[in-house]
């Protein structure tokens, strides 16, 4: 190895350092030259760009996807409209401007109030509508005096419109102006040209799909900010269209079938979990919300005692009453607590061993000797008090949980409720109290803490119809790209209810068929020769009758009257539709809720069995 020449190395290093230092200075000189170029030579140019951007980038909002029902009927569309809009940042005295504007265009109190409301919740440099849907005459009048109103413009827009208004209100939801609260949940860069966003229902849960992607336009503007010419354009990507499982005719029939009552109806295709109809009554007109609802109108909806904004089908929590009996029956059979031929005697009431309290049957004199088939057909309460007591709350709760009770179904809509599936553990967690045996007894007839949503009842019914395949319910069948027509299906998802014995399924299904077809069946009045229906009625208590008093429908105020429930599916041997009906304060399930379900089944099945246009609707044997 050579001996290092330290002097030479040091001198070489010094040389390299000096060269590096010179190069660094040269590079810094180059950077400085660049900065002089930007800051001194081109300073004027950049000042112009900064102060008053001559070239403006205008964002182009994508057109929102349309929504169709299963037969291609348009449920949500975009309609052209002329709006008079104002950008508050560009107007000095807003009140005076509005006053002057009112000489040319009618502005009523609602318009002014809505304008002031939107102003408080807007984004920076957002233009706020003063009037929506100007007619041609008003448009012309304003065009003449436009130069007197800087910052005020007529804008041609596509406004969301829901042709079926109230009929689809709870299902579709509505779009509204983007509020300061919405901004936190969205990618604002994709919404710079958009003023509306889905607020509830399908419009909200499919917001990302419906909205599409923003486009950009490079334009030259004059000093007052108006566009002179278009330099370059990237077109926006329209949102995808939604095609629903929903049948709008069925939806309308369901709403009408409820008559004067409030309530909810959910109809499901048991094979796919597709929602065929979802009604919550009363509804509201979603079109009111699109361009901002006036405070007065909103307060009216908010304070209405029937709560029209409340989606009963998804969020309403009702005691299932006797509609829970087929499910508990299955649990009893599968757990081996009863057999198909096990008989209990029903004397009209039930007492826990060592307790005074009498749990009464709805039939005063009792039903006599009952097996499971008769107990479901005649809805015997005492049989179920005993069955529940023998099963125990936890086993019962485990089986019912498998049918989707007590948890969100995962439906593609926003805000569904969980309901309550009571158990020892549930009560300890939420109420910090021990479980009482009496609570098990009343849980056996779907009362007490038990709460379900109409949607939960519908999917659980579909699972019985479907031999234990619990389908995740969904409203949207497929998405469609408007440009190339490509479809993107929403695939059904399912879980299985772990009830192994086919005989148990068959027996309970037969009992449900006897509910409609049996001589003593509680829903015998909806029986038809045209196809077989399986179902179960239910009556949910709104308030508790004391031990001495008797419940008498006529003596009780309407709002405290029992809710009427019915679940069912048809045809019984080849189920194509499963329905859950809740009629608020409707009294007995067999009397008011079951006929609603029958109307839906007729509308859905008769054209399918006997061909379209067949008129068997009046058959009522």
């Amino acid at each position: 190895m050579r001996i290092k020449d330290h002097i030479r190395e040091e001198q070489n290093f010094l040389g390299r350092v000096i060269i590096a230092a010179l190069l660094i200075m040269l590079a810094l000189l180059g950077l400085s030259a660049r900065l002089v170029q930007l800051q001194v030579i081109e300073h004027q140019h950049f000042t112009t760009l900064s102060k008053d951007n001559r070239i403006k980038l205008i964002t182009l909002a994508p057109t929102r996807g349309l929504i169709f029902d299963r037969n291609g009927v348009l449920l949500a569309q975009n309609r052209p409209a002329y709006n008079l809009e104002l950008v508050p940042e560009q107007v000095k005295d807003i009140d005076a401007t509005l006053e002057r504007l009112s000489h040319y265009i009618t502005l009523d109190a609602d318009d002014r109030e809505r304008f002031n409301h939107l102003r408080r919740h807007k984004r920076r440099f957002d233009s706020i509508p003063i009037r929506v849907n100007l007619d041609i005459e008003e448009t012309a009048r304003f065009a003449v005096v436009r130069h007197q109103f800087p910052g005020v413009e007529i804008k041609a827009k596509l406004l969301r419109h829901y042709p079926f208004a109230e009929v689809t209100s709870h299902l579709l939801g509505y779009v509204g102006r983007i509020s300061s609260r919405d901004i936190k949940t969205i990618d604002t860069s994709n919404y710079t040209g958009t003023n509306h966003i889905g607020k509830t229902g399908i419009e909200k849960s499919y917001e990302a799909t419906l909205h599409g992607a923003i486009g950009v336009q490079q334009v030259e503007v004059n000093s007052s900010g108006r566009v002179v010419r278009i330099l370059d354009e990237t077109p926006p990507q329209p949102g995808q269209d939604l095609h629903l499982h929903l049948d709008i005719d069925l939806q309308q029939i369901a709403l009408e079938a409820l008559g004067d009552h409030n309530g909810a109806v959910v109809a499901i295709d048991p094979h796919s979990g597709g929602i065929l109809a979802l009604v919550s009554k009363p509804g509201y007109d979603p079109n009111l919300f699109v361009e901002g609802i006036s405070r007065h109108a909103y307060m009216t909806l908010q304070t209405d005692r029937y709560r029209p904004l409340y989606n009963r089908a998804l969020r309403g929590q009702y005691p299932p009453g006797s509609t829970i009996k087929p499910f508990i029956g299955l649990a009893g059979l599968e757990a081996g607590v009863i057999r198909y031929d096990t008989s209990y005697y029903c004397p009209g009431s039930f007492q826990l061993p060592g307790h005074e309290h009498k749990y009464r049957d709805w039939k005063k004199g009792g039903h006599g000797s009952m097996d499971i088939d008769a107990a479901i057909t005649q809805s015997c309460d005492v049989y179920y008090y005993k069955l529940a007591f023998n099963l125990g709350i936890d086993t019962m709760s485990d089986y019912l949980g498998q049918f989707g009770f007590g948890r969100r179904s995962g439906v593609d809509m926003d805000g569904e409720s969980r309901g309550i599936l009571p158990s020892r553990d549930w009560k300890r967690r939420t109420r910090h109290q021990p479980w009482h045996p009496g609570e098990t007894v009343i849980a056996g007839i779907g009362q007490g803490y038990f709460l379900t949503t109409p949607l939960q009842l519908a999917i659980a019914t579909a699972a019985i119809a479907n031999n234990g395949h619990l389908m995740t319910p969904h409203v949207v069948d497929y998405l469609q790209n408007r440009g190339n027509g490509k479809r993107h299906p929403i695939l059904p998802r399912e879980t299985s209810v772990p009830i192994a014995s086919q005989a148990n399924w068959d027996n309970v299904r037969r009992a449900m068929r006897h509910v409609v077809e049996g001589l003593r069946g509680t829903a015998r009045r909806i029986r038809t020769k045209l196809y077989a229906i399986a179902g179960k009625t239910g009556t949910a208590q709104v308030f508790t009758v004391s031990q001495e008093d008797e419940y008498n429908e006529k003596n009780v105020a309407h709002k405290l009257r029992d809710h009427a429930l019915f679940i069912g599916y048809a045809p019984a041997d080849d189920p194509q539709i499963a329905v859950a009906v809740v009629v608020e304060n409707g009294g007995h399930g067999g009397a008011t809720a079951a006929p609603v379900a029958r109307k839906l089944m007729d509308a859905w099945l008769l054209p399918r069995i006997y061909g379209p246009g067949s008129n068997h609707g009046n058959d009522d044997s």
């Binding site: 290093f13 810094l28 950077l31 800051q39």
Partner: protein, 379 residues
């Protein structure tokens, strides 16, 4: 050792401990320390404006400076011989961790750069930024001068292993920075000019090949750099807006806290990678010149320290760390002013952020150690 008498002029006071006091005891170099303090104070001033007058961010950054300066002072206490002994081990550990990152690292912003060590999240590429020049300097310290072919080849190998690992993450910017650090060591070690120009030529030829292996976002950055108006709302937006900010600042600037571009949200990443544009808009060419002067002062002091080092290791390491510092700032300013493509390199000591700050100050700690642990030689 063979030193010229003038070389040790500043090391022959009558009683060093009394006259230099605290600084000497803590092995700190006063000019370098003052330069760094001036730069970081300047940075905090600009950050206050760039963050939209958010005192919280300024305090946060102040804490990072505290940590980074502590690291610097800590390393300044370590003797140079000790640093040299650590070098290969640091390199080994760093490279192993780069392999680990590729195997089990966390993915952040589309690249695998982080290693989660339960207590801290750690970016091994930062460690390698220091380990590569340290190890090359260690390796070349007892080799003949200028280095022979075999030594150069092995040096290149030492350098390329971590560079390729980082490029795989993928983090092309950091890979190039580490490669340039290796290159500087070789340059300072005295490889022949013919080789230097040959390598530069080869790099020019290799560019199209490299292009082929690049990720789409990397290609996009370079395309955007070549023609920012192509995509004015997307990636080109950064460059257009920062040029407007710098240019509209003019000679005197629009005044601190008064930059329209910066304060009205036009400028993206304005408190991190694009903070230079805020400075240029609000403080003008004058403020920019002040910044460049401060940087130049720190660089010249660094080169001076390197040239006064007593052995090969100190010289190579000191010189390289200084040159890398320069690359940082020139790449950032070049990028913000539209001379270079957009790569994620912060403006040293000014940008908000802490990861690279600690590495940077550790490097300055080494420079101080090289300078203050020299043996006092008799005249």
């Amino acid at each position: 050792m063979n030193l010229h008498p003038t070389d040790i002029g500043d090391l022959t006071p009558t009683d060093p401990t009394r006259q230099r006091g605290l600084l000497a005891r803590f092995h700190l170099d006063l000019p370098l320390l003052l330069g760094l303090l001036a730069l970081s104070s300047y940075g905090l001033l600009v950050l206050y404006s760039a963050s939209g007058q958010d005192m919280g961010q300024v305090e946060h950054q102040l804490m990072r400076f505290g940590l980074a300066f502590t690291v610097m002072i800590g390393i300044a206490q370590v003797r140079q011989e000790q640093l040299m002994r650590w070098s290969p081990w640091l390199y080994l550990v760093g490279t192993l961790m780069l392999v680990l990152v590729l195997l089990i690292g966390d993915v952040g912003k589309g690249a695998q750069r982080w290693l989660d060590l339960d207590l801290i999240r750690f970016q091994p590429s930062e460690m390698v930024k220091l380990a590569v020049p340290m190890t090359l300097a260690w390796y070349l310290t007892d080799k003949p001068h200028p280095p022979t072919w075999q030594h150069l080849l092995l040096s290149a190998l030492i350098m390329m292993v971590p560079v390729l690992l980082i490029a795989r993450q993928p983090d092309l910017g950091t890979a190039l920075l580490v490669a340039s650090a290796g290159g500087f060591v070789l340059f300072l070690a005295g490889i022949s000019w013919r080789l230097i120009f040959g390598l530069l030529g080869a790099a020019a030829v290799a560019t199209p090949v490299l292009w082929h292996f690049m990720h789409d976002y990397q290609k996009q950055r370079i395309l955007t750099f070549l023609d920012p108006e192509q995509d004015p709302l997307g990636a080109g937006y950064h460059i257009i807006q920062s040029k407007i900010a710098i240019g509209s600042g003019g000679i005197w600037g629009k005044g601190w806290l008064a930059g329209a571009q910066s304060q009205l949200d036009f400028l993206p990443e304005r408190h991190t990678d694009f903070i230079f544009a805020v400075l240029a808009e609000e403080l003008g060419l004058v403020g920019v010149t002040m910044l460049l002067a401060l940087y130049l002062f720190v660089i010249l002091r660094g080169l001076y320290i390197a040239s006064r080092a007593q052995d090969t290791y100190g010289r190579l390491l000191g010189g390289t760390l200084t040159l890398v510092f320069f690359v940082y700032l020139s790449v950032n300013i070049g990028m913000v002013s539209g001379l270079l493509p957009v790569v994620g390199v912060p403006l040293p000591l000014i940008s908000y952020g802490g990861t690279s700050l600690v590495t940077l100050m550790a490097g300055f700690g080494m420079l101080m150690s090289i300078h203050t642990h020299r043996k006092l030689l008799p005249r």
